[in-house]
Amino acid sequence: MVRRLGLTGNEAIAYAVKQCDVGLVSAYPITPQTIIVERISDYVANGEIDTEFVCVESEHSALSACIGASLTGLRVFTATASQGLALMHEVLYATSGLRCPIVMAVANRALSAPLNIHGDHSDMMGSRDCGWIQIFAENVQEAYDWTIQSFKIAEHPDVQLPVAVNIDGFTLTHCLEDIEVLEKEDVEKFLPPRKPIYRIDPEKPMTFGAWAMPEYYYKFKLQQQEAMENSIKVFKQVADEYGKLTGRNYGVIQSYGLEGSKVAIMALGSTCGTLRHVAKILRETKGLKVGVIKLWLYRPIPEDDFISTVENVETLIVLDRALSPGAVFGPLGSDVASMIVKRNLDFRLLNYTYGLGGDEVSMDLADKLLRLAVKVAEGVKPTSLTGYLREVV
């Protein structure tokens, strides 16, 4: 049964959490994530869900309380953004190291200073090596869908890792969209109660969080790495199953217009919608063919799928919505570069930073970028291979 609801990104995530039989939510408010926490508080206050809501005094404590509950065996959710994610930093590593399958929504927002509440990916990119699976949603429908799928991916016995569902601050968190939602019974069938492999159990006393000498430490870390690698297979299985249920087909990577095109733009999150829209217009009105590649799954980076996607691409412009001061490429640019080097591929790679602190990519800017891409593909030398998008196109 399909129902349509008008929800903002934050509301859609709260709605998904409501349907996922979550045992505990612990969170701390921060713009632009606050409404997720408020809606969940409403559900609890109105008795619509039995979830324990632990309204803590900081994000550090929020994720710490989540770890406690997750190790006790519950399905657990939290949400944060920006400074909140930065404050959680050390707890993020503890979560993945302790193999807690917690799901967290990250309402991507710039980091201070200067203070800025608007969208960019600096928060998640600052924690990209924290051992969490990282998904980027493009719109509100995806925010809802990925939240539900994330619990299933995280809790899979071959994975047992936390998942961050990223949604662009304001662009998605606060934008109302008409989305399809599942009935609770369907979600329950798709996502049965969590079955923890290990949990705190006085009947079987166990020690959690022991420290490890060098001969053990790296083995723990390699197991985490292995779980990360396993998660790609699980991710695809879950997306397939979800696709059968909803008719919405997800995967690790999505591409548009690569047929007959040797040039593409690659990005994460909501900007991909704008890029695709403008690419379509240029293709239909001007005959200019530029592809758009979007990663749904950023960690683990879906290397094989990326390589097969760019098989015919000769020029790729990678967009990063986070600055990596002093580095040659931004985080996504560096990831792409490393895949290209590893596979010994030969193509022209450009990497522009964009969208910092809510400096959104308008259709006009997207149009300029796509035209530049076409020119570069034709052999025109760009003014710069890197730089800030607005300044270089």
């Binding site: 045992g23 505990l24 612990s26 039995d50 979830t51 324990e52 632990v54 309204c55 803590v56 005094e57 900081s58 550090h60 404590s61 929020a62 710490s64 309380a65 989540c66 770890i67 406690g68 509950a69 997750s70 190790l71 006790t72 065996g73 519950l74 657990v76 050390e90 707890v91 503890a94 302790l98 705190i200 159990d201 006085p202 009947e203 006393p205 166990m206 020690t207 959690f208 969080g209 022991a210 420290w211 490890a212 000498m213 053990y216």
Partner: protein
Amino acid sequence: MVTIREVPLGEYWGPGHSACAGCGPSITIRLILKALRRPTVVVTPTGCMEIVSSSYPQTAWGIPWIHVLFENAAAVASGIEAAYKYMAKKGLLEEKVDVVVIAGDGGTFDIGIQALSGALERWHKFTYICYDNEAYMNTGIQRSSATPKGAATTTSPAGEVIPGKLEYKKNLIEIAVAHHIPYAATGTIAYWSDLMEKVRKSLEADGPAVLHFLAPCPLGWRFDPSQTVKLSRLAVQTRYFPIYEVENEVYKLNVKVAKPLPVEEFLKPQGRFRHLFTPKFKHVIEDIQKNVDGNWKNLLEKCTVEK
């Protein structure tokens, strides 16, 4: 009064842990675990007792035990307590489980104070126990806000002009009581029966409880490891560390010290105060004595009940 016959013979703090000889915190934990009343989960933040007990693949813990980070023990405990509440609500829990934090003074007075305050305010039903060895011992004896005035640590060294730590110790129990919790108390191993009774009482309290146990550290305080219990007793007998409890905000003195020894008796056996016994810094001992007397007087004024 717990009598020696009533102390369970079972050990939940396993032999083979790597604590120093004469480690006060280790003795404290052994007593705490013997005083538990039912299945219990213990959370310990980073610090000496975490390190000595959990070197993978070994553990000294005979009951479920968790370490996550340094400043978040109270928050982790909040999540566990809330999880059990949820399980009870859903009929998933066969037997009730107690949640206890056992944390150092650094993890409590300093970096963990925010998480502790939050957990108390949210009224999680748990017992938070601070074993106070008066410095960051795990990292090599650095000052904490529980380090007493005059003590030399590696970050408050006794130098030519500065006589060790200049500031007085923070009052943890007052901070706890300010949250209007039903039970807060001090204790120390020399008064083992009192200590164990307080653990039990805290678990039975109708809300969060905080216990502050002074735990002498031979290495950090620089005394002979055979003297741990004696130092614990001297801390009380000099009125340096009063033994009292606060039940529903009513104060009760548990160990009357009618004829207190001068505070020097507590300071003298400890290398960390050695510099105070020189003409240059002798005045600090007077300050400490005055502070002890003042604290005792204030406490007595609050104690409307005597035991």
